[in-house]
């Protein structure tokens, strides 16, 4: 059983579902509430939530006790391994997906950062030195 998942805050759960299913091969597991959906791709479970009010039964996207709302964005992200990151980046660009970075080469991987419709980052990476241990970043 997987005991880990990733939660992303999105502006619009339907729009995000469509993005992750269409462009990144996720499967929609459940979407029981307009502000909540659970998707999966391999070992990764992705929970998408949109900000809700303090009295909403779902707790994952309520404001903090001091009223601070939760928002999309930032830099922390999940990563997806792809066989050919250049090809993936090209395809996604053609499909209209926003790239936050060019394809860049680290020590152990080539990677590109893309954004979902709410501006959340996703990193696609291709191992380029399998015989070396991943040394960078």
């Amino acid at each position: 059983m997987s005991t880990v998942s990733v939660r992303y805050i999105v502006d619009d759960v339907d729009e995000a579902n469509e993005f992750y299913v269409r462009h990144l091969g996720f499967r929609l597991e459940m979407h029981p509430d307009p502000a909540f959906a659970m998707l999966s791709r391999g070992d990764l479970r992705l929970v998408l939530v949109s900000p809700v009010g303090p009295d909403h039964p779902g707790g994952g996207s309520r404001p903090m006790p001091d009223g601070t709302p939760q928002q999309p964005g930032g830099w922390n992200r999940f990563m997806l391994q792809v066989p050919d990151v250049d090809a993936s980046a090209e395809n996604l660009l053609r499909e209209g997906v926003k790239l936050r970075s060019e394809v860049i080469s680290g020590v152990g991987t080539k990677q590109v950062m893309i954004e979902d419709p709410s501006g959340n980052p996703i990193e696609l990476f291709e191992p380029i030195r399998p015989e070396a241990r991943l040394q960078d970043s």
């Binding site: 964005g73 922390n76 970075s101």
Partner: protein, 171 residues
């Protein structure tokens, strides 16, 4: 020329019909073969300000294990089937700095969600270690949740399922 020592026994070759479940299990095992790049694990990258403090936080308080720390700006940790990469932004190499000079920052709201067996005792332990709470234990649908921060201000969500709601069947 190499010979197989078993040839001398003249064992008959018996065709075996592999059961699909056996093949699936074998495939899963092969795919789960450890190795920093091959291991199939959900992977997350967090940006941190202080690598040592972060590794200490995740390993001591949240049951991660350190897999690699090859440089002062990068570490790879595991917790079950989660692989967590910690990167210090703007450092040597600075591969994550964007072409326009933008340097990644810790923080934000997107986060890993870690399941724990006893959220109340986890909360007590984290509180004793003066971990910053964004919110205390609260009830959601099917889970109780707690949102804390790592030493760089990155959110980490801890959940305890209620009544098996979040159990995920083995594929």
């Amino acid at each position: 020329m190499t010979t197989d020592p078993l040839d001398a026994l003249h064992l008959p070759l018996v065709p075996i019909e592999p059961r699909p479940e056996f093949a699936d299990a074998l495939l899963r095992r092969i795919e789960a073969r450890p190795g920093p790049l091959d291991r199939q694990a959900a992977t997350i990258r967090y940006f941190v300000a202080d690598l040592d403090a972060s590794v200490e936080f995740y390993c001591r308080l949240l049951d991660f294990e350190e897999e690699l720390r090859p440089s002062p700006v990068f570490a790879m940790l595991y917790r079950g089937d989660l692989r967590l990469l910690l990167s210090v932004p703007g450092g040597p190499g600075a591969v994550h700095t964007l072409p326009d000079g933008t340097v990644p920052q810790p923080g934000g709201w997107n986060r890993m969600t870690l399941q724990v067996a006893d959220l109340a005792s986890t909360a007590d332990s984290l509180r004793r270690h003066r971990v910053v709470f964004r919110h205390d234990v609260q009830a959601g649908v099917g889970v109780r949740t707690l949102l804390v921060e790592d030493p760089s201000g990155n959110p980490v969500e801890l959940i305890e399922p209620t009544a098996g709601y979040h159990e995920r069947s083995n594929r």
